[in-house]
Subunit: 189 residues, 2 copies
Amino acid sequence: MLAAARTAFAERGFDGASIRVIAADAGVDPALVHHYFGSKDKLFLAAIEAPADPEELLPAALAGGRDELGANVVRLLLQVWDGPGRTAGLALVRSAVNNEWTARLLREFLVAKVLRRVVGTLGLPKAEGEARGSLVASQLIGVVMARYVLRLEPLASASPEELVAAIGPTVQRYLTGDIVLPGGAVTAL
Amino acid sequence: MLAAARTAFAERGFDGASIRVIAADAGVDPALVHHYFGSKDKLFLAAIEAPADPEELLPAALAGGRDELGANVVRLLLQVWDGPGRTAGLALVRSAVNNEWTARLLREFLVAKVLRRVVGTLGLPKAEGEARGSLVASQLIGVVMARYVLRLEPLASASPEELVAAIGPTVQRYLTGDIVLPGGAVTAL
């Protein structure tokens, strides 16, 4: 079931894949997939071995309001990666760098499970939300690479709050700042 | 020789490794290493199969002056990665993510060959330069991951100048802005 799910999510994306198709590919009844995983969300998280469930963690980070969004997103990233999510997170990043299909799955995870929700709180047009989301991702993935993969000092040993103070404003600017957006999306605000 | 060089650079760092030691480990005369590679710099670039030689490319980017530094560094990164450096760059990132020793070599490359030179133009105290350099690295590596590894849209298809406009100010702020620095380095400017 998980192998069929990985294939379907990588080929069709999170939105395009359905439990019905995944169950058919795995040769099982869709009810069985529902029974084991509960929802397409949960099946996806299991299939990619996600380091954390954004559905559980994001609401608190998003509740702080628009002006705190950048800081709260960086803080949440560091909570997951400085905590028990690091091992699974590193495995996912390693696999994504080595394998085009896992790269697609990680991209789907970031876009559909993280960025869309974060940007969704801002009520932006779709193209602008995607442009801002991809900029946010470029900074967050870079923090993961610098702190946990390359262990670049002093960033690697800095306290989470030091990094929230240094990097939060970058993410905030990408989310709500008056910037030139990649891909020709209109500049806003 | 290259294997001995990789070991020495990973174990001792770029500064700590010497051609003398590398030659001894490889069982050859130091003059032979000089003959083949010319300098420790060139030997290092060959050992890690660097995507580009910062010594050749950075001077033009640094010549634009302090206020253009962020934009010029992002522009140079995209020139290398949108150009012939991408294949070697991706191989280096893949290897660094898979292998702790290559991660050390990539870190040494970033610190000793790129960041130190970029930050060096600002005349900062050492700790502050390292703190600012590690923040710059976090954004640059993230651009590489988002654009070339995960191919996150619209960032992946954006023109270089769109990304210079969006991301250059982040790098500029990390280099010269009034920010809280990780690792307890004093805030400056």
